[in-house]
């Protein structure tokens, strides 16, 4: 970050002085331009705006959401078939009997079966080809997979952040026995081979929870949200605890306590606003990790159950066509790479924007 530009920023604390100087040096009364202190969020936005890479990440994420939640249904209407529709006899290459390749046109009757005279037959277009011998549309599955992956990643992040901030804030603020208990709990969770536990828990809890969708999520999404969120809270908890430990010794907390504010009020209106920055930054970085984790678990066959599409289970069926259609492993892999990269870049950019001293 170029220092000259940063120096030109009028910082909140100096705004009083700056306006006084402006009044004294103004030649005539009434010509003075109004000097206004920039608010905290305005400064953050100004710093963030200069970070082109992070802006790129942010724009990509917005596009990804649009594609996943608006683009996927549109594409489904336009193509005339759904992501879970199977074309068992028709979406195959006539010579090799392998799934059709990218940009394939073919004709099929009802149920995806071959055309028979007398029954209406429709032309279908598979933009990225078929996903397997069952003949599902890889392109649509990729778009709908984005929905699943984003739901899991964001849901698990919200849950783990909520648990982490709650436990971290309580431990840091109250100290003593409560802090000791929560800190030991954090250490126990940290000492776990977390991935082994997630794998094991997903498999034992999964069959019971998979049908629980609240009507809006795909099958198995809430299982993964629950399982990942339950084991991933320790990292935010440690960060928030450390922050609260230093904040609670500050004068403004003392002042609030002196005028008789309750603990809950101090935490909510004096401490939490200072934690917004780390919460946003780490949420972005943890979402990136959770996209990877969902893909990994679904790859192992314990995440999102078929036929619901997710990037992980697209990746897991790809090795079946390893030698003949290697592109099937490219698409979901690229999707995961780009989504994770975007959230990582956004998170790094936000961190630098919130805390310019830490940037190098």
């Amino acid at each position: 970050m170029p220092t000259s530009e940063r120096d030109r920023e009028v910082l909140g604390a100096q705004a009083g002085l700056a306006s006084a100087v402006a009044v004294e040096t103004g030649s005539e009364l009434g010509e003075i331009e109004q000097v206004r202190a920039r608010g905290y969020w305005e400064q953050v936005w100004r710093r963030f705006r200069r970070d082109k890479v992070a802006i790129g990440g942010g724009i990509f994420i917005v596009l990804l959401f649009l594609i996943a939640f608006a683009g996927a249904p549109l594409a489904k209407d336009w193509l005339g078939h759904g992501p879970n529709d199977v074309y068992p006899g028709t979406a195959l290459d006539p010579q090799t009997q392998l799934p059709v390749g990218p940009w394939a046109h073919f004709r099929s009757g009802p149920g995806g079966l071959p055309c028979v005279s007398g029954i209406p037959c429709k032309s279908q277009l598979f933009i990225l080809g078929a996903d397997s011998q069952l003949g599902r549309d890889e392109f649509l599955r990729l778009l709908y997979g984005a929905q699943t992956s984003l739901e899991v990643a964001i849901g698990a992040t919200v849950l783990s952040m909520f648990l982490g901030v709650l436990l971290g804030a309580i431990a840091g603020y109250f100290g003593g026995v409560i802090d000791a208990l929560i800190s030991r709990l954090t250490e126990i969770v940290m000492a776990f081979p977390i991935l082994l536990f997630i794998v094991a828990l997903a498999s034992t809890v999964g069959p019971r929870l998979n049908d629980f969708t609240l009507g809006i999520f795909g099958k198995g999404v809430l299982t993964l949200v629950f399982v990942i969120g339950l084991f991933a809270w320790y990292y935010p908890a440690r960060i928030i605890r450390a922050q609260i430990l230093s904040l609670r010794e500050k004068e403004f907390v003392e002042a609030a306590r002196m005028v008789g504010a309750s603990d809950w009020r101090i935490i909510r209106s004096h401490l939490l606003p200072h934690l917004v920055a780390p919460i946003i930054v780490y949420s972005s970085l943890i979402i990136a990790q959770n996209v990877l984790l969902e893909a990994g678990l679904s790859f192992l066959g314990i995440g999102i159950p078929l036929p619901t599409a997710s990037w992980g289970n697209l990746l897991s069926s790809a090795p079946d066509y390893y030698l003949t259609q290697p592109w099937l492993m490219l698409w979901p892999g690229f999707a995961v790479l780009l989504a994770t990269l975007a959230f990582n870049l956004l998170g790094d950019g936000l961190r630098d924007a919130f805390d310019p001293r830490g940037a190098h």
């Binding site: 081979p193 082994l196 990136a288 990994g296 994770t340 190098h360």
Partner: protein, 323 residues
């Protein structure tokens, strides 16, 4: 020093108890009916009844847990598999060396990659080398290990044919009828898995080492050493690197533990029949004792490993020895 040792040992025991309780809950209380699973394909009321008795499910929960712990501590036995009645200790005995060679070889690989790259990019910030290192970091933490594995094994194994596509070779005493064996073959088969496994951690370590070295370079004692006229090599090795590498040692212990879980992905891509692959198989076969055995064993390994790292750390860092 003695107090520190005792504290660490006691903590390891607490962890062990906590972890066995949680695994017990996960494996024998959450699943609908372990006895039914124990019978597998032959679910008859008689079988379920005897299995329930055999597994002790007709007794109170705390007795069940106590029996489990007793078997584990006194007999060092993890039980028998539901799938083929094999002793789980011997299943783990076959799988553990594979995972160990993946994880430790991977750790060596990621250190060999990360230490030079991290130090060089800290010494020459904003150069082409530093910028490419940062791109490597971003891609390394964003690409899925499974995907990297699939692409590598397709490209290097299938397209170029310079490495095996998948599979494992025993380094010492390969079993009768094995396709390959010996240290050279073992190394040859492990190259791709090691690199695949190492990329994520290498990326994290490049970033960490770079930040540590840059921070240490600004310390007062480094300036003092330079002012005294110490040669640059002495400043680097004695003052900068020694201090910059201390946190790396702690992280290494934790990350090898983390990697034990992450090995699942690499193993399943390269069909290495290590702990992760066995775990996944036992999951799909509803083989609860094997799953549980692997989780307990993995956790124990991590506790012991962390204990060793803590003790090593006390020898490296004199500040701990004094307290």
């Amino acid at each position: 020093m003695i107090r520190y040792l005792i504290r660490r040992l006691l903590w390891a025991v607490v962890l062990f108890v906590a972890i066995t309780i949680i695994t017990y809950i996960i494996f024998f209380m959450i699943p609908t009916d372990p006895a039914r699973k124990a019978c597998g394909q032959l679910v008859t009321p008689a079988c379920v009844k005897s299995a329930r008795h055999y597994l002790g499910l007709d007794r109170p929960v705390y007795i069940q847990y106590y029996k489990f712990l007793e078997r584990l501590v006194v007999h060092q036995s993890l039980g028998r598999s539901f799938a083929n009645r094999q002793n789980i200790n011997s299943i783990i005995g076959r799988a553990a060396p594979i995972t160990a060679s993946l994880v430790f070889g991977g750790a060596v690989t990621w250190l060999l990659l990360a230490i030079p790259i991290g130090i060089l990019s800290a010494l020459r910030p904003r150069t082409l080398l530093d910028r490419s290192a940062m791109v490597f970091v971003l891609v390394g933490i964003s690409a899925h290990p499974v995907w990297i594995g699939l692409i590598f094994s397709w490209f290097f194994g299938y397209k170029l044919g310079i490495t095996p596509i998948a599979g494992y070779c025993e380094a010492f005493s390969p079993p009768q009828g094995a396709a390959c064996g010996g240290v050279v073959q073992w190394f040859y088969h492990m190259i791709l898995p090691w690199i695949t496994f190492a990329i994520l951690f290498a990326a994290l370590y490049v970033r960490m080492i770079r930040a540590n070295v840059m921070e240490t370079l600004n310390e007062d004692y480094v300036r003092t050493a330079r002012a005294k006229g110490a040669p640059e090599s002495r400043v680097m090795f004695k003052h900068v690197l020694r201090n910059a590498m201390l946190p790396v040692v702690t992280m290494l212990g934790m990350d090898i533990a983390l990697g034990l879980g992450g090995a699942v992905f690499t193993e399943s891509v390269y069909s290495l029949h290590g702990l992760g692959q066995t775990l996944v198989q036992s999951l799909s076969g509803d083989d609860l004792p094997t799953t549980q055995g692997i989780v307990v064993f993995g956790t124990l390994a991590i506790i012991v490993f962390n204990l060793i790292v803590d003790l090593l750390y006390a020898f490296i860092d004199p500040r701990i020895r004094l307290t």
